[in-house]
């Protein structure tokens, strides 16, 4: 379970990091690191201001 990041859309704002209930996301400069603790809950994808995240079940 994970999320896919469309790197061509992502504005690396970190909003997704702040809402992740399990702390699975980390923003390093312009890229998002996703740990395998991701539960595919979809909150990050919902709130992404530019729609750069896609949940993978």
């Amino acid at each position: 379970m994970s999320v896919n990041v469309n790197r061509y859309k992502c504005g690396y704002c970190g909003a997704c990091v702040g809402v992740c209930p399990v702390g699975a996301l980390e923003l390093v400069e312009t890229w998002l690191e996703i740990e395998n603790t991701c539960t595919s809950c979809g909150i990050c994808a919902k709130i992404c201001p530019v729609g750069a995240l896609l949940v993978v079940k």
Binding site: G11, Y12, C13, G14, A15, C16, V17, G18, V19, C20, P21, G23, L25, E26, L27, V28, E29, I43, A45, K46, I47, C48, P49, V50, G51
Partner: protein, 392 residues
Amino acid sequence: MKSRYDVVVVGAGPAGSITAQTCAEGGMDVLLIEKRQEIGDPVRCAEGVGKDALIKHIQPDTRWIAAEVKGSRIIAPDGTRILMSGDAAMKDVGYTLERKVFDRVLAQRAAMAGAEVMVKTRATGLLRNNGRVAGIKAMYMGDVHEIKADIVIGADGVESKIGRWGGIDTTLKPHEIEACVQFLISNFDPGEYSEFYLGEKYSPGGYAWIFPKGGRSANVGIGVLGSKSGNIRAISLLSKFIETYIPQGRIVEIVVGGVPVTGPIKQTVTDGLMLVGDAARQSDPLTGGGITNAMDAGKMAGEVCIKAREKGDFSVRSLKEYEDKWRSTIGKEMSKSLQVKNLLLKLTDEQLNQLAHSLDGVDVSKMELGKLLTVLIKKNPRLLWGLRTLFK
């Protein structure tokens, strides 16, 4: 970098830099780290700030003031305009900042006060001693270093990890964040007022803004409440807004950001740890403004750090003074704002128009926000019943 400091501050935004500066001026040994290689960039902010709240901390400087604004204009869904210029003493007049420069200047002030600064340095975890927070692990150029400290300051913004690692759950729920996109628009004269467009018409659970940025340009943005984001995105609403209202505008920069609109959270300190600024969710839940709250909190946190060292007590009992202080100052305003925001969220666009029309013939231009709300409550007791005890 040394292996031990009195205070380690994580994040060199306004909250972190002011905390670091205050601690350093108080004679403490301070390390300020920033995970990005450039402080202040990329920006995640609409850059609006009130003059009075700002000058408590720093004298305005043309290097980082992009524009001066004479007041605010609130625009109802049907286009009704409410102009607010603050009181006769021009109290509410403000600025649009150039955060890229402003944030760096604040970090430089911390450095000149004696704080060590490290950029491109990312906190990766906390150190503990007998269960208590005792420093951080930080990565610089691929290597992880252990840095001991009596107090760790989490000034790590909307994406804060420091609080969570320290056992304070700061996770934002979808209804506690505004998902925002902003374009710096050129080839457009925005006038001398900051504009706020309210209603579902512009944004579900948020608002659209136009903040003059100087030289025929403006920060034009839209925030959507996270719980209403998904099928509707801030970026598509903003593109539509600009096509409709500023068709001649040219986009010269894109800014993306999440703004906490939680209101005061229950806990911001634990043994050896304090949270400040967006990491402590101290942005105003109504306006989303967070710069001066962050600076106020940074100053308070720094002062409490100095006292803690004098006492030699870095436990929550000692650091709690910071929490009491911010809660009784900026926290009070945040609570009021949260109540106003929650009520606004329930109003339809028709009801917002009705509120705007109720001010016909009333000169609100010299009123502060509190006074304006008092008038609105008097004229619309039914709609605004829930706010009657807030503003007197």
